[in-house]
């Protein structure tokens, strides 16, 4: 990795403390019985939403071998590649970026061992936008609540999306319930994620996403909440958007 010491080029919306914290955890990313177990358990619900949204938008059959075949997809904030790999297996032509070099190293290495061809880059959406790149699909999960300037970040995503393309975001809503569950519950009581993973004040309300994207010609298509069933230790698709939620948008 010749650019290990380099900071991502271009004006960056990623805050340095946040990048460093995730890099420290990168090695553990793929251990689904370890620290990232909650994320691995959450994954099927998130991927199902992405797959089903794209299948509906591009008229694909989800039981077919490669339902996302031929779609140029950018995963922003890919971490260890937990979402990039499955989407690649479903046929998408995946580019994945992260502001943490160590995460990119972990993801590159893991995908190579899985025999998957994914273009991982230690980069920011802003610099890709500067290059004039565009994709059919943008996916950015659990990222918007970590960025320094939400509207600038959403602007970069919009410019990276081809006309007629799709943007899919996942984040945590800023409600009293999410403060109780996602911040205090998950970090302090259940210890699902390390303390300090989230800053509740940066959680994002659905209206803030639509307000940031609407002026750019990107319209809300649908939203879905993610609920947790403690009895079966399982996440499920829900109509309640008050804690974790996913949202899909389409660009004019």
């Amino acid at each position: 990795m010749n650019n290990r010491q380099k900071t991502p080029h271009g004006a960056s919306t990623a805050s340095p403390e946040e990048v460093a914290r995730f890099a420290a955890m990168a090695d553990e990313w793929w251990d689904d019985t370890g620290k990232f177990k909650p994320l691995h358990k959450l994954n099927p619900v998130r991927i199902a939403f992405i797959r089903d949204m794209l299948a509906a938008h591009y008229d694909r059959d989800i039981t077919a071998a490669l339902p996302l075949h031929g779609l140029a997809l950018l995963d922003v904030g890919c971490g260890g590649g937990l979402i990039s790999e499955p989407l690649c297996r479903l046929g998408a032509d995946v580019t994945a970026i992260d502001a943490g070099q160590e995460a990119i190293d972990v993801a590159t290495n893991h995908a190579a061992q899985s025999g998957l061809n994914i273009a991982f880059r230690h980069d920011t959406p802003e610099s890709l936008a500067d290059e004039g790149l565009q994709f059919d699909v943008l996916v950015s999960l659990e990222v918007v609540e970590h960025v320094a300037d939400l509207n600038a970040f959403l602007g970069a995503l919009a410019s990276l999306t081809k006309p007629g393309g799709v943007i899919i975001l996942a984040t945590l809503n800023r409600t009293l319930k999410s403060l109780a569950l996602a911040k205090i519950g998950a970090e302090y009581i259940l210890r699902w994620v390390p303390r300090g993973t989230h800053d509740w004040r940066k959680f994002v309300k659905p209206s803030e996403l639509t307000k940031g994207l609407e002026p750019l010609g990107v319209h809300l298509h649908s939203m879905q909440g993610i609920g947790f069933d403690p009895l079966h230790d399982n996440w499920f698709a829900s109509e309640k958007l008050d804690v974790n939620y996913l949202a899909s948008f389409t660009k004019d």
Partner: protein
Amino acid sequence: MQNDYDVLINGAGMVGGTIACILAASGMRVVVLDREAPSVQVADSYDGRASAIALGSQRVLDGAGLWEFLHEVASPILDIRVSDQQSPLSLHYDHRDFAVTPNNDGDGSGNPLGFMVENRHFRVALARAIEKLKNLTVLAPGQVVAIERDSHKVSATLDSGRVITADLVVGSDGRGSIIRRLAGIALTRHDYGQSGIVCTVDHEHPHQQVAYERFLATGPFAILPLLGNRSSIVWAEKTDLADHIMSLSDREFQEELARRFGSFLGTVTPTGPRWCYPLSLQYTGYSIDNRLVLAGDACHGMHPLAGQGLNMGLRDAAALGEVLIDAHRLGLDVGRHSVLDRYQRWRRFDNGLMMGATHMINAVFSNSIEPLRLARVLGLAVVDVIPPLKKQFMLQAMGLSGDLPKLMRGQPI
């Protein structure tokens, strides 16, 4: 590097073969190994047993594309009569009380409680279904002699020296599972001190599609209706007595059999060979490990008195098929713990319940201690007169209650 296959299944028997068909039909790349060549497995002398297929299991076989090859050779079970030799009371299940699907005959009789299928017919059906599946490779005879598992793959070394890689290995290789042994998964075993004698009989009068379960002092004795005036006998005896019975001449064997069978179907004549299997309860503490899954008898072997062993295996197949196909369609690596954990949680309670129930029933009935004898006489009578309890027992055995996999509900995955 991509692995050679998505899933390697060791054991192409009734459970492993069904899993292979379910997965391959969904587009997964499957290789299945068996120590016996297919031509050996379909020979009449290979497996003389017949299996009770509960209604839920029949739906699984239908979804797996196997029932189309079985429906003509399956013998429906319309009634089940359970009795205790020392009691005049009995328990009677009539399929008309369990109509879950309307029947096309229009006589309101509904579905049967289950079917009897001869194992050799099952193996022929498997061979025919497998032939039609493009994504399914059969390597038989072939045996796994070593497996290595890491974070990305299972590498299985075969007896031929060939090495195959896959995302996941499934051990559906029976009570003596090689996969279980290679993975070092501990087995808890309880020997019943009984052996099961199995044979087929001809009888003078038609059985009217009724199955009989008699609890004799030394062990349960079941008469299960096959096609024509034939029935399959599953006859549990204490092991030393079973060995003695196996050594009898044909005429003496027929006399021993007739003493237990009775004369209600006229003259009874054993046909074909007799088999004898030691009976035990055995189970593993867990059924998943890194990139490895156990299914069927490999992780739970139970007393055959309720005919539930294969049915539990087919429920495993339905649950495992659904879990793996769901994960595959999400692009997930099917060997991951987070995927396999769903299968283990799904099946643990149901398998435990059935092993416990068959164990308890055998313990209570194969016993002549007076309070237990009274309890079971009363128990049969009580169960027979309390409809909800009676119905719940049967729905559980038919595979129609609980959190069912889609295939058991008659839905595609």
